[in-house]
């Protein structure tokens, strides 16, 4: 249990560090990757709705405390995203190597739009619909591009921190 908690904390911390340093300089047409979104979606795929929701909540809350917007918005978004992707996994009959890539792309896109909607409803200054959609799209594409590189590492971390493996991709 302790090993699992440490693994999740370490993965989330690493994702946040990379997101604010290395990947802040390697942008895709002005967009940085949302690595915590990527981690949440991959863990949801590997571990199901419970694992996805827990990792999403942890990562989202950690990210929220580094932002200048009302705390809890990213945690809410990623909890629902992790749970949703985890549920979706049960409906995927024959998973292919492209499935994680596709789901990270679509999940990040949808997740960012949801997060901005909640932020807007809470009175945060809106960044404009076009810019929001553009950034969400680019971030989704960036996440999808990074997934084949990061998925094997995250699968290894997930597998080592759990007593039994739920599904193989």
């Amino acid at each position: 249990m302790l090993r699992r908690v440490l693994s999740i904390v370490l993965v989330v911390l690493t994702a946040l560090l990379l997101q604010t340093t290395v990947f802040a300089e390697i942008q895709l047409f002005g967009a940085k990757p949302e690595l915590v979104f990527l981690v949440t979606i991959v863990f949801a795929l590997l571990e199901g709705p419970e694992g996805g929701a827990v990792v999403g909540f942890t990562g989202g809350m950690a990210q929220d405390f580094l932002l200048n917007q009302p705390k809890g918005i990213t945690a809410l978004t990623l909890t629902l995203l992790g749970y949703g992707v985890g549920l979706l996994r049960t409906y995927i009959v024959s998973p292919s190597p492209a499935t994680p890539t596709l789901l990270v792309g679509l999940g990040t896109f949808g997740g960012i739009l949801f997060e901005r909607l909640v932020a807007f409803l809470l009175g945060e200054v809106a960044t404009g619909l076009l810019l929001t959609v553009r950034v969400a799209l680019l971030t989704g594409v960036y996440g999808a591009v990074l997934t084949p590189l990061l998925f094997p590492i995250l699968r290894r971390v997930s597998g080592r921190s759990r007593p039994e493996r739920v599904v193989r991709w």
Binding site: T20, I26, A53, G56, L67, Y83
Partner: protein, 277 residues
């Protein structure tokens, strides 16, 4: 039966986590910077800042070398040795150029520091904002160095932004291009004042300019520095990039290109808070 039990557990877990998220949003929204969650935010900044500084220190030179290597043209295999030598030479050159640029930036900051009336402290940019929708940076100076929430932040080229969160050893700076940021500004030629608002990657938007005021592209814009205002007066912000004339409008739309290149910021000056008592 076992499956339905597991599904029930997952649903229960999600309800708990969503409720916790909503409770966090509510508490933070109501209490703002004075609440207990703001303290947790400062602690998170305190934990992340040294890690960000360490990672930035390691990855910045590596990034320089990598980008230099990526730019090298494709050559034949028999030229491999020459290519490696060329790569090494270029990497060294890029590093040297980078060091020279950093030195010049520090000299310019020193000049600015001496010219400024309020006391300032030089800070290193150690991280970028975590979100694509917040234009912020993290710097390595905090309340221990006299920096506090609201402290203006400058670069040698002009205004950078203001501190919105400060821990003991680091601070989160909201850039003037953030849509939440607003700066009282003055057109340098006509002396007309207005309010500048960030628009992310797009140029700043200046509001409140009288339609009768003649404004042309290229006109410098600086901080207005009202009595009791946040920013010192006369700090360059940028130049007018575009003026949209609309006779029917009550104000003129003026777009301003920031003087600071926020993507390459390494060092900044932070104005210290006046000592209490």
């Amino acid at each position: 039966m076992a499956l339905s039990g597991r599904t029930r557990n997952a649903r229960l877990l999600v309800i708990v986590l969503v409720s916790a998220s909503l409770a966090t949003i509510t508490v933070d929204y109501r209490q703002g910077e004075s609440g207990p969650l703001a303290g947790v935010g400062r602690a998170a900044l305190e934990v992340m800042a040294p890690l960000q500084a360490a990672v930035s220190r390691v990855t910045r030179p590596v990034g320089d070398v990598l980008s230099t290597l990526v730019r090298l043209p494709e050559v034949r295999s028999e030229n491999e040795r020459l290519r490696a030598e060329l790569a090494r030479a270029r990497a060294q050159l890029a590093q040297q150029a980078s060091l020279e640029a950093r030195y010049e930036e520090l000299v310019r900051l020193l000049d600015l520091q001496e010219a400024l009336d309020p006391p300032t402290v030089t800070a290193v940019v150690i991280g970028s904002g975590v979100s694509n929708f917040e234009w912020t940076i993290t710097v390595d100076k905090g309340t221990d160095d006299g920096v506090g929430v609201g402290s203006p932040v400058l670069a040698s080229a002009g205004l950078v932004g203001r501190v919105v969160k400060a821990s003991a050893t680091s601070s989160l700076v909201e850039l003037i291009i953030d849509p939440d940021a607003q700066v009282a500004a003055r057109l340098a030629t006509s002396r007309q004042t207005g309010l500048l608002q960030g628009q992310g990657e797009d140029d700043l938007r200046m509001r409140g300019v009288d339609p009768a005021t003649p404004v042309e592209a290229g006109e410098p814009v600086e901080t207005a520095g009202y009595q009791g205002g946040l920013y010192p007066p006369g700090i360059p912000i940028g130049v007018v990039s575009r003026v949209v004339e609309n006779p029917a409008a009550l104000e003129k739309l003026v777009l301003v290109r920031p003087a600071v290149d926020f993507s390459t910021l390494e060092f900044v000056l932070v104005v210290k808070q006046p000592a209490e008592g």
